[in-house]
């Protein structure tokens, strides 16, 4: 179980992101992770992939590489893109109360929720820029119960 590694690379378009997420969700459904937690993981990955499509590649498109695996009790997803660097300050440690705040519901916002959802649901975020690549590591702690199912 812990040795299962999923990886998918594709071109950053909304449709390819949808298809990639569908394959990812099918993989995830085979892991011993509670369904409520699987939903959270899927929401975070959707937002992170949409951000790459919209913001890292604003005018053109480019490659996205998604890799995911169980590591002990953690579930770890790694995303790479060759787009614009992530603005500094966008990536504080996750958890409520840090980073730029969520839009106010009474303003009826039509966007701006992406990073708020990511920060609310992920337990750890790590960004690095190597050469022309962004690498975002997203950590979900205690996602996999102990002992892992066979």
């Amino acid at each position: 179980m812990g040795k299962t590694v999923f990886s998918l690379s594709f071109t950053a378009t909304p449709l390819a992101v949808r298809r990639g997420l569908l394959a990812f969700e099918t993989y995830l459904a085979g892991l011993p992770i509670a369904s409520e937690r699987r939903d959270s993981i899927c929401i975070v990955l959707a937002e992170a992939l949409n951000n790459i499509t919209e913001h890292a590649y604003p005018n053109a498109t480019g490659p996205i590489w998604l890799r995911a695996q169980v590591q002990g009790h953690q579930f770890i997803a790694t995303l790479r893109d060759r787009g614009a660097a992530l603005p500094a300050g966008l990536l504080p440690q996750p958890g409520p109360g840090t980073g730029h705040s969520a839009p106010n519901p009474t303003d009826l916002p039509e966007g701006g929720f992406g990073w708020h959802l990511i920060r609310s649901l992920a337990d750890g975020l790590d960004h690095a820029r190597f050469a022309q690549w962004n690498e975002l590591r997203i950590i979900f702690r205690n996602a996999v119960p102990s002992p892992p199912l066979p």
Binding site: T13, A46, E47, N50, L117, L121
Partner: protein
């Protein structure tokens, strides 16, 4: 974007037939709802029972739909599945819409 429209108990009932409202489908979703609700006076009841995933673009599209209805028609939501309810809850957008557990509940509340 599959949308089945029907009138019932003073509602324009719109049943979303796709399993996702996401960045790839948000524009088509807005357009389909606009066409289906245009011209009427009834409140709109969006049945999300078949939708198992929404992302923030989809959420934005639902907000846009509500705004497009104008001040005299409300947007009601029903049938939110767990992942969808979670996105509404975490963004606190559940406070903005009238959310019913099921379509049947919404129709009963209105009767």
């Amino acid at each position: 974007m599959g949308l089945r429209a029907q009138h019932s108990n003073g509602f324009c009932l719109l049943q979303v037939e796709d399993s996702r409202i996401d960045a790839a489908g948000a524009i088509a979703f807005k357009e389909a709802v606009r066409q289906a609700s245009e011209g009427g006076q009834d409140d709109v009841l969006l049945d999300l029972g078949a939708v198992d995933f929404i992302d923030s673009s989809g959420l934005g599209a639902v907000v846009a739909v509500m705004k497009a209805l104008g001040p005299d028609r409300r947007l009601h939501l029903a049938g939110l599945r767990p992942a969808v309810a979670k996105v509404f809850r975490l963004t606190r957008m559940d406070s903005v819409f009238t959310i019913h557990a099921t379509v049947a509940d919404a129709l009963k509340d209105a009767a």
